[in-house]
Symmetry: C2
Subunit: 133 residues, 2 copies
């Protein structure tokens, strides 16, 4: 199984598909050039409709992470070694990071604890990237 989802969770299925693929790209599990299963194939694997998978793929295409062709299917377009992101993206991302970190501060997490969480997450990604580089 390439990825697993929670059908009855609060986050939409197409969003979960998008999130899991983003994480797989970050770990290096899906490097630039890698092919993803077809929408219909992944749909039967996950037990969902292929339109739902298509929506997740389309999100990733809009974010510049996938290239999608008629017969070639979905192919990873960017990964950790693909250079700087699109202009404007970084500001938007920084805003979302700010909100997420604010939540942690408001809930009583110390800046040190937040830093540890961040380093643990990033370490999990860059580990496999260095393996593959």
């Amino acid at each position: 199984m390439l990825l697993s989802i929670e059908p009855d969770g609060p986050v939409p299925i197409y969003q979960q598909i998008r999130d899991r693929i983003v994480e797989a790209i970050a770990t290096g599990e899906l490097p630039a050039g890698a092919s993803l299963p077809s929408t219909r194939q992944l749909a039967v694997d996950l037990g969902v409709n292929f339109h739902t998978v298509n929506k997740g793929y389309d999100l990733l295409r809009q974010e510049g992470l996938l290239r999608i062709g008629r017969k070639s299917g979905a192919v990873v377009r960017r990964d950790a070694g693909s250079g700087p992101p699109d202009p404007g993206w970084e500001d938007d991302w920084a805003g979302r990071l700010r909100t997420l970190l604010a939540e942690a501060i408001a809930q009583g997490l110390s800046p040190d604890q937040i830093g540890e969480h961040g380093q643990a997450a990033v370490a999990g990604f860059s580990l496999r990237i260095e393996e593959g580089a």
Copy 2:
């Protein structure tokens, strides 16, 4: 104006209200015990329906950050100095952080750049907290 919103943006208004208040709690601008405007008052300030404001307040109540009473209105319940958060919250938050950081890695940001963004955001919060402490 206590906070400003983007009515036509992709993120729901009640979510924006929730996010701005979370950030205000994180900066110390809204310490524990501080009163927020009534739902109707904030609604006219923002030019939205008071039910929309109520929805944002209710989210914050569910997250344990606000206490809401009939005439007393909404009062900040937790802030950076209120001790550890509810059990289970930290795992959920760490998962969301992981997804957000994965996106940055996939888009080509280096771990160093990500760390700088994180420190810049947290510094903006803890600054005002130390002022008020």
